[in-house]
């Protein structure tokens, strides 16, 4: 019998490898809908700035990696017959499965405005998108970026370093509103403006007019910007459409999974951006759409595909790290804080340094940082370890930079 994994991102690849490791007797089929070896979307910004070539984005460097025990094939999942355990591909192929993993990731949402389907508009999601952007970027070119979320921000460096004249239009009142609080989101905006980027927050693209030599982008409050390239980075949504009719329950547009990463239909599992899984911090189920979560989902789903019930998911901590033209921002867990909790922060506005810690009683539950690159992972250790900080809580309130010391005190009684 065969395991079928749909999707060749980190969740799918890690799941396929885990399946192979713990159940080498069975074949793993890895189905992807892009004509490329499995690659990392996380690496695309570094491809755009030419730090790496396309091969540098590949998840696995050995060309033989997906050979025998894991068979990688190109195909578009079309429908699933859950009763007979068959996956149907768009080209008519049928694949019988012992267990199916939906690791189909997500895809960009295009804002529903006139002109968004024009030729000068692209997303920045796939290697193919990256090729198109690279071919268009040139010094002095006018580029308009829709969305200052994670994707928008992480490609800013590539756009700025190409010498493009850059305008960013963000609906939220600050940059990366889903990852950064008011202070850090505003500071990041200031950072970008100082790097020569025109940032419009609380602004919306209303329409895009396409002319032979350029496009004119109409923005709220009667603003107009000319652009030779429009990049839309206005959010993503899970790829789960092919499950229509299977009875697989969806939540927030993704597959609702239990703590074994199993959907409402036995034998069908989900992982990564396509899964609405347990959030460690909130105890609720959500789509985190981040790399570490995808990898953890993949490993746990695979174990349960081999032996259902063998591994129980404890919930993933939402975490993000973002490099925006050299300013590094981080978010963890409940960075927005919780009712009844308290917080502390330290801000050096001139040097773009910031740390904000959120507590529930004397436990750290979330954090935001700007400009911090040393020992930042300890925030995860403190949050996930749920350590009672005792007297170190007050020491952190007085000086939030003592996170390493607080951790050592909690774990080694230092």
């Amino acid at each position: 019998m065969t395991y079928v994994v749909v999707g060749t991102g980190p969740a799918g690849v890690v799941a396929a490898e885990t399946l192979c490791q713990i159940d080498p007797a069975n074949q793993v089929m890895l189905v992807g809908d892009e004509p490329e070896p499995p690659y990392s979307r996380m690496a695309i910004p570094y491809l755009l700035i030419k730090n790496i070539d396309e091969q540098g984005t590949y998840l696995r460097k050995d060309p033989e990696h997906f050979g025998n025990s894991i068979k990688h094939l190109y195909g578009i999942a079309q429908s699933v017959d859950a009763e007979s355990k068959i996956l149907h591909l768009a080209d008519g192929q049928r694949m019988n499965y012992k267990a199916l993993l939906v690791a189909t990731g997500s895809k960009p949402i295009l804002p529903p405005v006139p002109g968004i389907d024009g030729e000068r508009v692209t997303t920045c999601w796939t290697l193919e998108d990256a090729r198109k952007i690279t071919a268009t970027l040139s010094p002095g070119a006018s580029v308009l970026l829709i969305g200052a979320g994670f994707i928008g921000c992480i490609i800013l460096e590539a756009l700025v370093s190409s010498g493009a004249n850059l305008t960013v239009v963000e609906m939220g009142d600050r940059m990366v509103p889903r990852m950064l609080n008011q202070t850090s989101g505003e500071l990041l905006k200031q950072w970008c403006e100082e790097k020569g980027v025109n940032v419009m927050t609380s602004a919306q693209v209303e329409s895009i007019e396409h002319h032979p030599d350029k496009s004119i982008v109409n923005i709220s409050d009667n603003r107009q910007v000319e652009a030779e390239l429009v990049i839309s980075a206005a959010g993503v949504r899970s790829n789960a459409d092919f499950l229509d009719g299977t009875g697989v329950e969806l939540k927030n547009g993704a597959v609702a999974v239990d703590r074994h990463m199993c959907s409402s239909i036995p034998g069908i599992y989900a992982a990564g951006d396509a899964a609405c899984g347990l959030d460690f911090s909130t105890g609720d189920y959500s789509v985190q759409a981040v790399q570490p979560t995808a990898v953890e989902h993949g490993r746990i789903a695979a174990a349960n595909m081999v032996k259902h019930g063998s591994v129980l998911h404890q919930g993933c901590i939402n975490m993000n790290v973002l490099d925006t033209i050299g300013l590094i921002s981080v978010s963890y867990g409940n960075w927005q804080g919780v009712a009844g909790g308290d917080h502390t922060s330290l801000l050096d506005r001139d040097r773009f340094r910031y740390i904000n810690l959120q507590f529930s009683e004397d436990t750290l539950i979330g954090a935001n940082t700007l400009g911090m690159t040393q020992h930042v992972g300890i925030l995860r250790g403190l949050i996930q370890g749920q350590f009672k900080l005792g007297k170190w809580k007050q020491r952190l309130v007085d000086n939030p930079l003592l996170i390493m010391e607080a951790y050592l005190a909690a774990t080694q009684g230092a």
């Binding site: 980190p10 890690v14 990392s40 996380m42 690496a43 570094y46 730090n51 790496i52 540098g56 984005t57 590949y58 998840l59 696995r60 460097k61 460690f280 790399q291 570490p292 990898v295 953890e296 490993r299 746990i300 019930g309 063998s310 591994v311 129980l312 998911h313 404890q314 919930g315 993933c316 975490m319 993000n320 790290v321 490099d323 050299g326 590094i328 981080v330 963890y332 690159t373 040393q374 020992h375 930042v376 992972g377 300890i378 925030l379 995860r380 250790g381 996930q384 370890g385 996170i403 390493m404 010391e405 951790y407 050592l408 005190a409 774990t411 080694q412 230092a414």
Partner: protein
Amino acid sequence: MLRSLNINPDKCTGCLQCEMACSFENEGVFNPAKSRIKIFTFHDEGRFVPYTCTQCDEAWCLHACPVEAIKMNKETGAMEVLDAVCVGCKVCTIACPFGTVNYNQTTGKVIKCDLCGGDPQCAAACPTEAITYVDADATGLEKMRAWASKTDNQAHAN
């Protein structure tokens, strides 16, 4: 025989020789700020605690890396960053719950302890044997790794 760093904070005097040695070995300069081992000072308690990567079994950094830039050295058991492959995405720096993978803004890559390929210079430089490199079974390695279980996301049902 797998060896590991054994750290005994009670013997540490806070001289920072280990940081200097690490920085010189790996970065070619005597600059504690570039060291992969760090001494944390507890003024109120009068205590110094050397701290670096334990090369944990969970290898969060290795698993979180999207481009296979962190690999285990089978000789030493160390998780090593392959500079030529690392794109600098920093996901490992937030995934490591011990805070022992750091981003180097100068090179655009991450850095972590690699046990100096089997001859850790911090241990060689330590004058008080607060840091030693010994048989992994004889060390407090298991104790150190027990911390990892506190952040282990995969509790096994059985």
